[in-house]
């Protein structure tokens, strides 16, 4: 009995019971598809997040200081513009820093008005963050020093207020105050739910005036050398605690940390869904065992006949084992196709990067083979052990 005999026999008997074979495979199909969809989605989301983090682009040597504690989150209070300036002065390992103020305001020009995000930055923002001016120029140090009412607008603001003509040099009103547009930012899209095209950037000092605050929302800090980040963090805590007479009033994020936090979340999710998929594969396995046992019983006489004409234990074992393997593998392949298809569909629909986890595909295929193997052994052994005389006499 050759391998192709075994395969042909397996396909024959599965084809003889198409509905039953299909239903039996369904457990494996669902399990494999689940593994592929969920793991691929998890990895795709992680890639997406990674890209986003890198897209905002404060780089590996960058770090964000937020006022207030992460846990419990208390009202941020203490971070001021002078603090950020002092950081550059007091901590020599710091390459540069950008203070950030975020708020929102109505912006108006040519009779159009709508609410957009107002960001206050210093002039060095575009040099440090991967977010550039497309036309015109960015803010200058004089703009910041003198609280000038200059602004750089995002692509969406340009479209809404200046459709069809050049906004550079034009006047807009932000919260009723006159600002001169000096530049337009490049198109950047959405990053982590933050639309980087729907904003207006003003000097940090002007932003504080406009939003009537003396606080900062965050400070971005860059190290001269990435490995100095922990040291810088220590120094900043020391220095800021001294200034504010209060410890732990700040928290820090490096880009890698944020990625790893998100990685932990997606990792946990992936582990959970892998568990679900594993259970589904197990159920699929039990389904195959069950059907194979029924099949062995139904074909008791066939086993007797085959033994009478010279089938050995091994031949009978391989026949039934082959059927179970084919069930597992067919289920695995169908699951693979539907899993890859559904995963791609979901990714395209949700705008996630289309990414199919090779690891998941491999695991799913190995699992489906494993399921076929595990599920096949016991029924095939029962079949092989059948007594030929009793088997020939079996009525059904």
């Amino acid at each position: 009995m050759t391998g192709s005999d075994i395969l042909a026999s397996a396909f024959d008997s599965l084809a003889a019971n198409k509905v039953r074979s299909g239903l039996t495979m369904l457990g494996v199909v669902i399990g494999v598809a689940l593994v592929i969809i969920l793991v691929s989605l998890g990895e795709s989301a992680k890639t997406f997040v990674d890209d986003q983090m890198r897209g905002i682009g404060f780089g590996r040597n960058g770090m964000v200081i937020h006022p207030g504690k992460m846990d419990p989150p208390i009202e941020p209070s203490k971070l001021r513009l002078e603090d950020s300036r002092e950081i550059s002065r007091r901590v020599p390992e710091v390459l540069d820093q950008v203070p950030i103020v975020v708020g929102s305001a109505y912006i108006r020009a040519g009779g159009q008005e709508y609410k957009t995000s107002v960001r206050g930055f210093t002039e060095n923002y575009t040099e440090l963050v991967n977010h550039r001016v497309e036309s015109g120029s960015f803010l200058t140090s004089l703009d910041v020093e003198q609280h000038r009412k200059t602004c750089v607008i995002g692509q969406k603001v340009k479209e809404k207020l200046f459709a069809g003509f050049d906004p550079i040099g034009e006047t807009v009103r932000i919260s009723g105050r006159r600002f001169t547009v000096v530049g337009v930012m490049e198109k950047k899209g959405e990053m982590m739910g933050d639309d980087l095209d729907d904003l207006v950037i003003v000097p940090i000092t002007t932003a504080q005036d406009l939003l009537d605050t003396d606080k900062l929302n965050a400070v971005l800090v860059w190290a001269r050398r990435t490995e100095d980040l922990p040291l810088i963090r220590e120094r900043i805590i020391e220095f800021l605690s001294g200034r504010h007479m209060r410890k732990d009033d700040f928290h820090f994020h490096t880009q890698e940390e944020m990625i790893s936090i998100l990685g932990t979340i997606t990792g946990t999710l992936t582990a959970f869904v892998s568990g679900v998929a594993a259970v589904s594969l197990l159920v699929g396995c039990i389904g195959i065992v069950n059907i194979m046992l029924v099949s062995v019983l139904e074909r008791t006489r066939e086993i007797g006949i085959r033994k009478a004409v010279g089938a050995r234990h091994r031949d009978i074992f391989l026949q039934f084992f082959g059927e179970s393997m084919v069930l597992g593998l067919l289920g695995g392949l169908s699951g693979l196709v539907s899993g890859v298809g559904l995963a791609a569909l979901v990714m395209v629909r949700t705008g996630l990067p289309v990414h199919i986890s090779g690891w998941a595909v491999l695991m799913a295929l190995i699992c489906s083979l494993g399921v076929g193997l595990l599920a096949g052994v016991y029924p095939a052994m029962r079949a092989a052990r059948a007594n030929p005389i009793q088997a020939l006499r079996f009525e059904n």
Partner: protein
């Protein structure tokens, strides 16, 4: 001189039942030479089926010795017995015992598959075998599409597929009408003329007379051998 096809030395098959031991076959001595056509005759319960199962290596004796073509069956393990059934023995059953989902052609190929005959040769030999039983027009028919006589002819072609030393037939005409049964008997006679060794179980003395040797069994023993 070649050994006899069958040689039984005090061959026994006893069963333990709640009602006490049953001696289905008891200390039987027998030789069947190559080319013989022997009928096993006797009432039901005389041990015919048990003896046939032993001769066909479907069952193992509880005592004595059975030699097939000079090979002691007791020296073989299960796979050895399977090999012996495959190469040396052809079965023809009362209920045909064809595989229901397979065509006539593939049913005849089955023993050759287990003998690792290459697929092309299997096909060729199965075609020849079916031609020999005049079923060349029924190659792709499954058993449910065949009449009883046709089914039995497929079974005979299958039994002959491996050119066995011995063909064992268990009431081969038991399920057939007289005319069809007669056709099958003629087929056996032609096989006998071609030199095939045949052992046929029957309960019909009339059928038994077609053989050149009749073994009457009673209570697990040979009553007469003519």
């Amino acid at each position: 001189m070649s050994p006899p096809v069958l040689e039984l030395r005090k061959l026994s098959r006893h069963y333990e039942t709640p009602a006490g031991p049953v001696m289905a076959v008891h200390e039987m001595d027998l030789r069947v030479e190559r080319g013989e056509f022997m009928a096993l005759l006797g009432p039901s319960g005389c041990g015919k089926s048990s003896l046939l199962n032993l001769l066909g290596c479907l069952d193992r004796p509880t005592g004595g010795e059975l030699l097939i073509d000079g090979v002691a069956v007791s020296s073989l393990d299960d796979d050895g017995l399977a090999g012996l059934r495959n190469r040396k023995i052809g079965f023809v059953f009362q209920h045909y015992h064809l595989l229901p989902r397979m065509s006539a052609l593939r049913n005849v190929e089955l023993p050759m598959m287990y003998a690792n005959v290459p697929p092309a040769e299997r096909r060729q030999r199965a075609l020849e075998g079916l031609a020999r039983v005049q079923l060349s027009h029924r190659l792709d028919h499954t058993p449910s599409m065949l009449s009883g006589g046709e089914s039995q002819r497929v079974a005979i072609a299958r039994a002959l597929a491996m050119n066995p030393s011995l063909v064992l037939a268990d009431e081969p005409t038991g399920n057939l009408d007289t005319r069809t049964g007669e056709e099958i008997m003629q087929l056996f006679e032609s096989m006998h003329r071609d030199g095939t060794t045949l052992v046929m179980v029957t309960h019909s003395p009339e059928m038994a007379t077609r053989a050149d040797r009749i073994l009457r069994l009673r209570d697990g023993r040979i009553e007469s051998d003519t």
